[in-house]
Amino acid sequence: MPSLKAIRRRIVSVRSTAKITRAMKLVATAKLRRAQERLVQLRPYARRVNDMIVELAAGTDMDAHALLAVRPAKRTLMLVLTSDRGLAGAFNANVNKAAWNWVKANQANREHIELRVVGKKGRDFFKARQTQVGHVYTDVLNNVTLERATGIGRELVAAYVDGHFDEVFIAYNQFKSAMTQIVQVERVLPLPPTGLDDGKGAPVDAAPTTVDTIFEPTKDAVLDSILPMSIDVHVYRCLLESVASEMGARMTAMDAATKNAGELLARITLAYNRARQSIITTELMEITSGAEALKG
């Protein structure tokens, strides 16, 4: 049996761990609420942008615009969204594994697949697998802004337009609830004619406009500006989904950790009391037997 002192040290350590996990849970809960709010606010915007794309795409020859034309898929770019910090359950592992499996499954029929990673956890995952990563963005998920998303979106579009890649995918955690996050691997370029998923199921097909729609200044000019913009909005949404998922996963994980710490604490406290009791019993026995011996 371990000594009393050792058990006491253990109790203190478990107790302080529980304190940390409880605090982390509270922080994650607050951040989750904020992230969810931003996601809800963004949704109508994402939907309207999508509506416009669907309407535009319906009346356009798909090969007419670089971002819509489907080219034979030889070189692929994959953007993986992970977080910088761990202790978030399976949040990072799931998305990394999904991206990794996708790469393994599709490597054979493509010339080259380049990975770009958001977050240190993704970087470390692929480093451990000796896989080269084209670019790592860090410090993104802890402060998601539209500007940052636009920056990443522009880089994706630029790499696609100048012919470095024939298609662009994003792997991210879609937020369903604090308990469930669903990993998605989605093609964002060339843009699907049904528009990009707005996180609320497939978009309903907006009534394709008649030929009479006026475009100002011209249809091509509108396409040229709105298509890259929709990518930015999509990247922004994926980032927000990831933040919400990260916080949800961390909240759930830390809640479980706090509970486990509580159970563990109860167990070692019991062991501690038993040990204490047995020491007292032994001591008493020694005293009484000593007293008996003196009498004799």
């Binding site: 931003r38 915007y45 406009t209 475009f215 509108v222 709105i226």
Partner: protein, 135 residues
């Protein structure tokens, strides 16, 4: 007709209106009920929502799009939309000075990206100052 102004941080306006004057990319667009289907880019400027006779709501919009469907719905999607009461005039005036100074110190060509970005910042600050002064 119905009008909706949507930004990444939520729906800024939604309701029935008599008409909308939007700062189109190639000139102001007056949109009244029954307008033909339209999809146009916007520039930085003031968007006027006509709530009723002599009752206009002026909003600052920074780029984006205006989308008219079926002559009855106007949707404006923009990254930034501000009401007069949300504008802090002193801060905006400072912004305007700063932006103007930056633009005038730009040595690059009028066609260059940098110049355009700075010009847009000046336009935005000017528009905000103008709308902010009406409250």
């Amino acid at each position: 007709m119905k009008c909706e102004i949507v930004t990444p941080v939520g729906i800024k306006y939604s309701g029935d209106v008599q008409g909308v004057i939007a700062p189109g990319a190639s000139g102001d667009l007056g949109i009244l009920p029954g307008h033909q289907a339209l999809l146009s880019g916007l520039r930085t400027g003031v968007c006027t929502v006509q709530l009723g006779p002599h009752n206009d709501l002026s909003l600052v919009v920074d780029g984006g799009y205006v989308h008219v469907v079926g002559g009855e719905t106007v949707t404006i999607t923009t990254e930034l939309c501000e009401k007069a009461e949300d504008i802090v005039l002193d801060a905006v005036r400072k912004d305007l000075e700063l932006a103007t100074a930056e633009l005038s110190s730009t040595r690059e060509d009028v066609q260059s990206e940098l110049w355009k970005v700075r010009k847009r910042a000046v336009d935005l600050a000017e528009t905000r100052a103008r709308v902010g002064a009406t409250k």
